[in-house]
Structure formats: structure tokens, C-alpha cells
């Protein structure tokens, strides 16, 4: 014995009742019978949906700010952080007059996530220094063709008419910071009327 903590747990001699094996059968059946009156543990999936944790790592979203400009500046940190090498992007320079479309002077002209490669580890969300990419609690839809799983900006960038709330994924300080002065300054510069 290496330690003084060991505990012998196996008892293999059977008593007479156990040898008869009928009592064990009946007690087992009693247990299963009791379960017939319990609430079923299953969730009837397409009709009912289980509530996911607020930090669930599912489908990605590229956020816009409150003025509707894309937050991503194509810095490439998410692509570097990705262990599955699923993210590719092309950067482009913002032209005059596009200030309401893109938040910073540089933006992602092309942004693709290969959902077949993606392992939903959440490292891209953690890496993003612009609060642009987030994972959401929705699951990626099935497709018939492999090509359909390469998500471009059309599928990733959030729509202004169906905004996704990611405030639960952020710490309170970050949410405050985002709503704070920098956002206000940006809105003042590019969206002085406060149009959504």
C-alpha cells in the first residue's frame, strides 16, 4: 500500500437473496417503474428549445456600432488567434463618404469564416481589440453543400433591423466603455442627428 487512504470497495460474495437473482430483478423493475411517473428529461427540440448559457459559443457575428458602422478594422488578430485557421480577410481603405459604413479608416472588404474548419473555441472573440467579432448562442445552420459553410460578410455582419445583444458576453466595464465617450464622439462626428 502506497498511501494510508486506500479503501477496499469490492465485495464479490453473493448472499442467498442475491444468488436467487429474482429479488434483484424485481427491485430493479420497481426502480424503472417509478421513473414512469417522472417528468421526462428530454426536450422536444424543434418545437421547444433549451435555453443556452449567455456565453455559449455558437455562430459568429460581426458587430456594428450604434450608428450602423462596422466595427471591424481588419487588423487580423482573430485570424492569427484561430487555432483552426478558419478566418481569412482582405483589408481595404475607407474612402471619403463611407464614414457611416465603416467605423475606422481601414475595414474588411472581404471577411470569411469557414464553418467547417471552425471549432468554436472562442479565441477570436477574446482576441478582438475592437469588440467587433462575437460568438452568439445560435447554432450554425445545416447546409447541403460544403460551399455554403464558407460564411462571408453577408452572413456574418449583423443586420441593423435584427440587432444581436452581446452585452451579456462583455464585462460591465466594457459595456460602459463602449456606451461611453468614444461611442458618443463617433456618433457626434458621423451621425449627428442620432439616426439609427
Amino acid at each position: 500500500m502506497l498511501t494510508n487512504r486506500s479503501k477496499q470497495v469490492v465485495k464479490r460474495e453473493m448472499s442467498l437473496a442475491e444468488k436467487l437473482y429474482l429479488p434483484a430483478i424485481f427491485s430493479g423493475m420497481a426502480i424503472t417503474f417509478k421513473h414512469m411517473f417522472k417528468k421526462p428529461a428530454t426536450v422536444k427540440y424543434p418545437e421547444e428549445k433549451r435555453e443556452m448559457a449567455p456565453i455559449y459559443r455558437g455562430h459568429h457575428v460581426l458587430k456594428r456600432d450604434n450608428a450602423g458602422a462596422e466595427r471591424c478594422t481588419a487588423c487580423g488578430l482573430c485570424a492569427v488567434a484561430c487555432p483552426a485557421e478558419a478566418i481569412t480577410m482582405d483589408a481595404a481603405e475607407r474612402k471619403p463618404g463611407e464614414e457611416s459604413l465603416y467605423r475606422e479608416e481601414k475595414y474588411a472588404a472581404k471577411y470569411e469564416i469557414n464553418m467547417l474548419r471552425c471549432i468554436f473555441c472562442g479565441l477570436c472573440e477574446e482576441a478582438c481589440p475592437k469588440e467587433a467579432i462575437f460568438l452568439t448562442d445560435t447554432i450554425v445552420n445545416p447546409e447541403y453543400a460544403r460551399a455554403g459553410f464558407i460564411y462571408g460578410k453577408d452572413k456574418l455582419v449583423e443586420r441593423m433591423d435584427a440587432r444581436i445583444d452581446v452585452s451579456k458576453r462583455q464585462t460591465a466595464d466594457v459595456a460602459m466603455f463602449k456606451m461611453g465617450e468614444s461611442e458618443a464622439k463617433h456618433n457626434q462626428l458621423y451621425n449627428p442627428k442620432g439616426e439609427q
Binding site: R5, V9, Y21, A41, A53, P83, C121, E126, L135, D173
Partner: protein
């Protein structure tokens, strides 16, 4: 054989027996994974067997040589996917040992809670699958409802259920939320009764005992020669446990027994795992009660990502953020070995670093790989259905076997 005759060597011919070759696997539903066993059968008895490994070999050790340290965690997820948090945290502890970080007590205790939950979920799978292979499907469905609750706790902690990517170098990525504590309380309150019910179903059932007692035995001595660790070694009567022998993450603070078996047969392995679940519950209870206050991560700015608000406001935090994400923080060169008691046994990480962003060499000690070496010896002379039972009672996980 004629050349033997030419040389004058007498060859004795025995009567050819009635041997058949049976391919069990690679994708056989009874083996719970991708294992190929080419069995030489004499009727129902296995005379000889040959195993093939590597069906889902993904070259993790090689991939790790080109990955920054924080990206290797996702590789360890996919080793023993029944208890991935143990692998994740084991890897983080290895890197912490290399760079020499002291983890705050609270983070260590939280890690213990997570690792013991993972151990319970691993043992739930193994024990209920042993019961399934003997024909008792009911207990499996009852226990798996509670494994679901463990997965929900993981989901609350890290956002994923199976491939968790939990924890970071230097601590945890976030503290337990209130929902997580509530779910943990529900688990601690409800699970012992469920476990007892499962015991009543199978533990002293004669059919179950007839199927498992003296099936696939291995002696303690032989198991040590093979390098067994974990529940399979303890079932053979050797009370070796990494948590006691080389305590990590404050395991020395907790009071728990090490269940041991006697013969190392399937019944012993089943019983050891069953009792270990109860010990794990005890450890979680103790860790929860004695949980110290404090931060949930160490102060290692070069490895632990700064909070996002600092990234936006402080120059230094921004620099560290970019350096960590791009994998540009240098680690000291050196060699470390760190092992944790995984669900199946000693999960070891042998890491050689020559400085720089990724390991020079990483070896993963996977207990399943070792158990599978002993498998032909353990099933020789037994029946085919017992071989299936032996495989599932050793809890050989394909992802960990092949890595």
C-alpha cells in the same frame, strides 16, 4: 516447407484446428469507438488477437510544435473528450510550471471543482456503458441525465459543452457565475440519490455480477509492468493516485479516500469508478465550503489576457494583448513534466521548450494508449462478448488512444 525437408529437418504437423478470423471493428457499434481487432476465434473463444491503432491519429504532438502555447489547449480538448477540462487544465498547469507562476488559492480550488466534475462525468460514461454492454440499458439513461447537468455547468463556465477550451494560462478565463453555483448545488444535492439508484439497479444484480466478475482480469504486478495508472490500476489493488502521490492544484488540502479493488477484473473496475464518483463529490463539497476569496487568475500580464477595458484605455495592456494573441511572448527554455489524474489515469505532458513561441517538443502521455497494449493479454482465452466488456470497462477512448 519443402526446403526444410531438403535440409533433413523433420517437421511435425499438428492437426489443423477449427480457427476462424473475425474482424471486430474498425467501426463496430459495440466497441464504442474506432478500434480494429482482428481476432482468431476458436468457436466463441478468443485464441489470439491483433490490434490496429491510429484510425483517428491527428498528430497532435506535431501540430503542437507549431502552435503558440494558448492554442494548444484546443488540441488537448480532443484527447479524452469525456473529460476535456482535466486535459485543458493539465496543460495549463504544465505551462505554468515552465514559466513559474503561483496560482491564487481560489483559482486552484475552482480548478479542483471543475476537474472533479469532469472526473464524475467521465466515470458516469464508463460505468453506465459497462452496464449497457451487459444488457442493462436503463441505468445508462438515468445517469446520463446528470451528465447533462455537468455539461450545463461547463457551458456556464466556458460556453461549450464537450470541447471546452476551459481555463487560461494563469488561471481561469472567468469566475463562476451565480447560475453556475446554482447548477452545482443542484448537482450536489441530486446526484447522490441517482447514484444510489444506479447502484441498486446493477451493483448486486446477479446477472451483472456473472457477466463482470473475473472478466478481463489483470494482476497488480502485471498492470504496473504495463504502466497502468488511474482506476484500472487501482482496480488491480495498487493505490496509486497522482492526486495523492504528487499533489497539484491544492489537492493536499482535501480529505478523500482512494477506492481500490482486488483482482483487476471488470467488476472491480466498475466498483472503483463508482466509489470514486462519491469521493469526487466529497472533494467538490470540501472545495466549495473552503473556497477562499481572491482573484481567479494569477498576475501574469505576459500570459494572461488583460481585461478588455484596459486594452482600450491603457497602452501597456494593449501591447500585452497583441503580444499574447500573436503568440509573441517568450517562454523560458527548459524541460518540464506535469501530470494530472485524468478520468482514465495519469495524463502527462512532457514539454521541452527552447524558448520562443511554441514548444520544441511535446509528448502527451495518454493512459488509454497504455491500457490498449495490455488488451490482447487480457482477452486471450475469453469469450467474444467478454472482450467487448473488457474494452469498455477499461474506458479506452479512441481520441486519447490515437491523439
Amino acid at each position: 516447407m519443402s526446403y526444410l525437408k531438403d535440409k533433413g529437418i523433420e517437421v511435425e504437423y499438428k492437426e489443423i484446428s477449427n480457427l476462424n478470423t473475425l474482424n471486430l471493428g474498425p467501426t463496430h457499434p459495440a466497441t464504442h469507438g474506432i478500434f480494429q481487432n482482428v481476432l482468431t476465434m476458436n468457436g466463441e473463444i478468443i485464441e489470439d488477437s491483433q490490434q490496429t491503432i491510429g484510425y483517428i491519429h491527428r498528430a497532435f504532438e506535431k501540430i503542437a510544435e507549431r502552435r503558440p502555447y494558448n492554442q494548444i489547449t484546443v488540441l488537448t480538448d480532443r484527447m479524452n473528450y469525456c473529460s476535456s477540462p482535466i486535459n485543458n487544465l493539465g496543460w495549463h498547469m504544465t505551462v505554468e510550471k515552465l514559466i513559474g507562476v503561483d496560482i491564487p488559492k481560489r483559482a486552484q480550488y475552482l480548478r479542483v471543482i471543475i476537474m472533479e466534475l469532469a472526473r464524475i462525468s467521465d466515470h458516469i460514461i464508463c460505468d453506465s456503458v459497462i452496464a449497457v454492454d451487459t444488457g442493462a440499458l436503463t441505468g445508462f439513461t438515468y445517469l446520463f441525465q446528470w451528465r447533462e447537468l455537468i455539461y450545463e455547468i461547463y457551458e456556464e463556465l466556458c460556453g461549450a459543452r464537450l470541447t471546452t477550451n476551459l481555463g487560461r494560462i494563469g488561471g481561469l478565463e472567468r469566475d463562476f457565475t451565480m447560475t453556475a453555483w446554482k447548477k452545482l448545488d443542484k448537482f450536489l444535492k441530486g446526484f447522490p440519490a441517482v447514484l444510489e439508484e444506479f447502484e441498486n439497479l446493477v451493483k448486486r444484480n446477479r446477472i451483472f455480477m456473472d457477466r463482470t466478475v473475473k472478466v478481463g482480469p489483470i494482476s497488480g504486478e502485471r498492470a504496473l509492468e504495463y504502466g497502468f495508472t488511474g482506476p484500472n490500476l487501482r482496480a488491480a489493488g495498487v493505490d496509486y493516485d497522482v492526486r495523492v502521490a504528487l499533489p497539484y492544484s491544492s489537492y493536499e488540502d482535501f480529505e478523500f479516500a482512494i477506492p481500490v479493488g482486488e483482482n483487476g477484473d471488470t467488476y472491480d473496475r466498475f466498483m472503483v469508478r463508482l466509489e470514486e464518483m462519491k469521493e469526487s463529490l466529497r472533494i467538490i463539497q470540501q472545495a466549495k465550503e473552503g473556497l477562499p476569496e481572491g482573484p481567479f487568475h494569477a498576475d501574469v500580464p505576459a500570459f494572461y489576457l488583460p481585461p478588455k477595458e484596459d486594452v482600450y484605455n491603457k497602452m501597456e495592456a494593449l501591447i500585452y494583448h497583441f503580444k499574447i494573441v500573436m503568440g509573441e511572448t517568450d517562454v523560458p527554455s527548459g524541460t518540464v513534466y506535469h501530470s494530472v489524474e485524468g478520468g482514465n489515469g495519469e495524463v502527462g505532458f512532457y514539454l521541452i521548450s527552447d524558448g520562443g513561441r511554441s514548444p520544441y517538443r511535446l509528448h502527451l502521455r495518454r493512459p488509454c494508449f497504455i491500457y490498449y497494449q495490455a488488451y490482447p493479454e487480457m482477452i486471450k482465452g475469453s469469450m467474444l462478448s467478454d472482450a467487448i466488456l473488457t474494452l469498455s470497462s477499461m474506458n479506452v477512448i479512441a481520441g486519447e488512444l490515437d491523439a
